[in-house]
């Protein structure tokens, strides 16, 4: 059975404790949960920012150094909020499940936009299908940006001093 994932981006899919391999065919992404016909399957869609990790500063510092002042490492995403959604359905050999993702968090609390939506049929239960605001990751990202800019300036200044000294010397 295939579970199609529309607009998934960086959301990881788990079945139990095992992360499922997201396959691609003709531009469509899907996962194939392991389950016998008629068995109830629970998939967990999980997303956490790199800044939410425990040793986030070690992580970002490592990539800042090996990425030459962070220039050669991909930018950290602006959207840092967390998702932990559980989806239950009954496995059917010939059936398919379509899930659409929306990466949006209502900052003002005016309307709740579901991050995971069932487009077709077959889902029996869905819980936690909205992004949860992660202020800590947001603050860490801001802190990283400021410190990175300052460190880059310091490195540049040091380089200028070294070059000037080499030329004069």
């Amino acid at each position: 059975m295939k579970v199609y994932l529309i607009n998934r981006r960086d959301v990881a899919v788990f079945q139990g404790e095992k992360q499922l391999c997201v396959k691609r065919k003709g531009g469509a992404e899907f996962v194939e949960p392991v389950a016998a016909d008629g068995e109830e399957v629970t998939l967990r869609f999980y997303r956490r920012s790199e800044f939410a990790a425990k040793n986030w500063w070690l992580y970002v510092m490592f990539f800042w150094i090996i990425g030459i002042c962070g220039i050669c490492t991909p930018r950290y995403g602006k959207f840092v909020h967390a998702l932990d959604c559980k989806v239950k359905f009954t496995a059917d050999e010939n059936g398919r499940v379509d899930l659409r993702f929306t990466h949006y968090l209502d900052e003002k609390g005016q309307r709740e936009v579901p991050a995971v939506e069932n487009v077709g049929s077959g889902i029996t239960e869905m819980e936690g299908n909205c992004y949860v605001r992660d202020d800590l990751a947001l603050r860490r990202r801001k802190r990283y940006k400021v410190l990175s800019a300052l460190a880059r300036l310091a490195c540049f200044a040091a380089l200028v001093v070294i070059v000037v000294k080499a030329i004069i010397g």
Binding site: A12, F14, E17, Q19, L20, C21, V22, K23, R24, E29, R44, Y46, R47, R48, E50, A53, Y59, F63, I66, G67, I68, C72, T73, P74
Partner: protein
């Protein structure tokens, strides 16, 4: 689950960073060729300048040679001090790159291999093809740079 996510994010970021680093190395490997091209263009420009001056001399039936300023310009054009200075700089740069080039080639190769391996280790198939294409192109660019460098040296 959290550990798996962190591991997957780490692998993804490491692969991308290594790919970017290998591209940076591949572009840096073109510096000696650029220096050589700069010297060639400079020499050509100098020859062109002298030819234009000679044409002016012939057109004015050598009368322009009576002008002290023109004679001075002619003398400074032929003066080889400038070219020597540039040549010295090029030789120094070449010396640096003859040591750095094998290291750059080895590092690029290692980064490309590591990046491709990391792309295939991940549980997401998204981005694998683009990573392989990028790796092939980077290897090609680096090979051309190396061939140009060692070809020029020979």
């Amino acid at each position: 689950m959290e550990n798996e996510i962190i591991k997957s994010q780490f692998e993804k970021r490491l692969g991308s960073t290594l790919m970017r680093l290998s591209w940076l190395m591949a572009f840096l490997a073109y510096i000696p060729a650029l220096i050589m091209a700069f010297i060639t263009v400079m020499a050509l420009a100098l020859v062109l300048k002298i030819l234009v001056m000679l044409a002016i001399v012939v057109c004015t039936l050598f009368l322009v040679l009576l002008n002290e300023g023109f004679r001075e310009k002619f003398r400074t054009s032929i003066d080889s001090q400038e070219i020597e200075a540039v040549q010295q700089f090029a030789e120094r740069a070449y010396g640096v790159f003859s040591v750095a080039m094998p290291l750059m080639i080895a590092l690029t190769a290692a980064f490309i291999v590591a990046s491709v391996v990391l792309a295939f280790v991940q549980k997401e198939k998204k981005g694998r093809t683009s990573r392989v294409v990028s790796a092939i192109l980077c290897a090609l660019v680096m090979t051309i740079a190396a061939v140009t460098f060692y070809g020029m040296g020979a």
